[in-house]
Symmetry: C2
Subunit: 430 residues, 2 copies
């Protein structure tokens, strides 16, 4: 990536946000980060846990203090509504406040707070000028983006956009067999409607990689999401005594799974920078010290900046599976659970964001997102702008996740500009 503009304000430089607005934002962010805070400076706010619930109540108070009306839809998405044009659709701007276990403070939460403060500023401007925008504006905190307690991820935005049936989502259970419906019911966050009608959408998020930092760029203009193939793999072996059984008689499911984990890394290494692979979740049965494992279930992801490379990687994987079955004397059952191509954001949205960043004098460049975001769902329905700010050392899904205050404020500045123009009707759905 090359930086399009190495403008007046460097990544580590100052911000155009005035001092009192900057101070209010940073103070609110510090308050927010105390919900579910962990000892090592991170957070644990998995969806519909007490920490997530308390933070949502705090956010409701903040939105109401600034005159927004708070509403919940039937999957627990939280909306702060600024209705200035009765009956008009909304600019929906926000992200998510739930987190992974032992996660960082910025992932999602930064984007919701930036959306709220952007809308507060615009509401003040409109009140002062007496102008009426073309569209109403809604701050959103999507329910369960992370998908760690309740699978799948991006649950709230998937239901909102009709990509996941409501009843299916409400029936999902966590590890303790609690359903989404049961977890949400006592919180007061299970509403009755479908939420505001969206005309367009904006989201800002930390990059969770280090491309922006490496090139000294403050604002990432997200043009597309990477292609991805996601697999659920079950390795079937045979239980046997882990001491007494002679090696050639073993059908070791954990050996099969381990060969696959190692191969996934080798596959990524064959396509440097273009292909990311990962196994994050792996469960062993019976997982006993003296028993050869009979079954391992794991989730394998391939994410790729190039659809042709992804097809090649999938083919190489298919070939390797047979070799692993033979090497470990196991059988592999492989289901492809997700499959998507390079998925572009609307170019008009990228152009609008570029124009705002340039006007404000922040360095900016186009970037693709490897991670999933709620905006990926939203762009299937309405014109959507996605912005990134730098992650220090690219660290994310980690308690040490950080973004500099200067970059966080620059992102707020650009997001405010983008929402202002979206509210003026610049990019509404046809």
């Amino acid at each position: 990536m090359t930086t399009e503009e190495t403008g007046a304000r460097a990544s580590t430089g100052g911000s155009a946000i005035d001092a009192s607005r900057a101070a209010a934002f940073l103070a609110d962010f510090a308050t927010m980060s105390a919900f579910g805070a962990t000892e090592r400076g991170g957070v644990d706010r998995q969806a519909a846990t007490p920490a997530d619930n308390e933070q949502r109540r705090w956010m409701q108070g903040l939105l109401e203090q600034h005159g927004l009306r708070v509403e919940y839809d039937r999957i627990g998405n939280q909306f702060g509504l600024l209705e200035l044009v009765p009956g008009a659709p909304y600019v929906v701007v926000g992200s998510h406040m739930d987190s992974q276990p032992t996660a960082g403070r910025y992932d999602g939460a930064y984007g919701v707070l930036a959306a709220a403060h952007a809308v507060f500023a615009i509401a003040d401007e409109l009140a002062a000028s007496g102008e009426t925008p073309a569209l109403n504006i809604a701050v959103v905190n999507w329910f369960n983006e992370e998908g760690s307690r309740f699978v799948p991820s991006m649950m709230g935005s998937s239901v909102y956009t009709g990509l996941l049936p409501l009843e299916e989502a409400l029936a999902v259970t966590d590890a303790a067999s609690v359903t989404v419906r049961e977890a949400l019911a006592p919180t007061g966050f299970l509403g009755e409607g479908d939420g505001p009608v969206a005309a367009c959408c904006a989201e800002i998020h930390i990059e969770q990689g280090r491309l922006l930092e490496a090139s000294g760029t403050t604002i990432g203009l997200v043009t597309a999401s990477w292609a991805a193939s996601k697999y659920v793999v079950t390795v079937e072996g045979e239980q046997s005594h882990s001491g007494a059984t002679v090696m050639e008689d073993r059908h070791d499911a954990l050996l099969g799974a381990s060969l696959l984990v190692v191969f996934a890394r080798e596959l990524a290494d064959r396509f440097p920078g273009v292909l990311h692979t990962a196994v994050g979740k792996l469960d062993v049965y019976p997982n006993s010290p003296v028993v050869v494992a009979s079954r391992v279930r794991l989730l394998l992801d391939l994410r790729c900046a190039d659809e042709a490379v992804l097809a090649e990687a999938n083919a190489l994987l298919a070939t390797e599976l047979a070799a692993i079955e033979q090497r470990a004397s196991v059988s592999l059952r492989v289901e492809r659970s997700h499959e998507w191509g390079i998925n572009p954001y609307q170019p008009e949205g990228v152009a609008l964001a570029r124009s705002v960043a340039a006007q404000l004098g922040y360095s900016h460049d186009e970037i693709k997102t490897v991670a999933g975001h709620d905006s990926i769902n939203m762009k299937e329905r309405v014109p959507t702008v996605m912005l990134f700010v730098p992650s220090i050392e690219g660290i994310s899904h980690n308690e040490g996740e950080r973004t500099s205050d200067a970059d966080a404020l620059a992102g707020l500045d650009v997001l405010t500009g983008v929402v202002r123009r979206l509210a003026a009707g610049e990019l509404r759905a046809p």
Copy 2:
């Protein structure tokens, strides 16, 4: 292994046990196998669970019906006492009745029932002849041999022999934080004494391998246990986003663990038939679909028929650890939790067992045990005889574990002969 004697009775041949005794044994074994029975023909009777408890109550009734007095010691070992010589020490004969999850019917349970039926027969003989033996006889069902619910394994015999402090064992917790003491207290199996004083010991067990079957041998005369090194390995990486983080920035604990699992297998393949290696238990943190694992904890065993080979394997492992740390950008913390050499059973006991098997006309041969058994603890204290019968296809720690009725009865026959001679004082501790 070569078979010393291919005598009158082949592995699949008949038995010298008379028909009514054979029928009673097989009927009791069928009854026993119903406790904790699984759908696929196995059992799940982890220590101090309801299935284990019910089976122990049934065994108590069986022992009492045959005139034995039942007693429990302070770690819940179950003893059936035949006291014929007031004040004399005991021949302690038995095995364990707890199991792994989804385990087979024979592992341990066969040895306890064979011990009980051997003692019933000897008691009848002595009553008929009016003779007095040199020693008393105790049937034993050791508590928690498997170590799947409560670690370590061989807990009951370790406490009995003074190799594990009682208080330490009682304080061990299971995955739900229930202590051994709390699990045993409501069962009535937590006694107040130290159990009978042992003069010598015998145990019969299924082989859990296929050497006996392969050579057509009915009775294994166990001469020693394999040497072993057991490790607890913690792989420390760093949490990060499993999609967005560029590959070269990852510190993937699961990759490090997988490289180790694969290497352990390669190590065994370098010393075919002499070295067995295994990773049976492996836990991933945070084990989330979109997070690179920051920590994996696994148990790695090396078991070896040759101490020099084991030393070489340990050295190769130590070298490989550094390579894995570099390859996966992780750090490995390795603790050696157990270390023992080739550990012989008393040769006089092997000779006694050989003489009994030969006299009865069963094919027999010397064999080493790779698996741990309670008799390995007992032989540290008193002369101990260990016998094996064949496992069909070597299958064990598996619901499909089987031993033929003919072999099970042959084992009962030889065990009866061994216990008869032990009770006569042939091998008592000096």
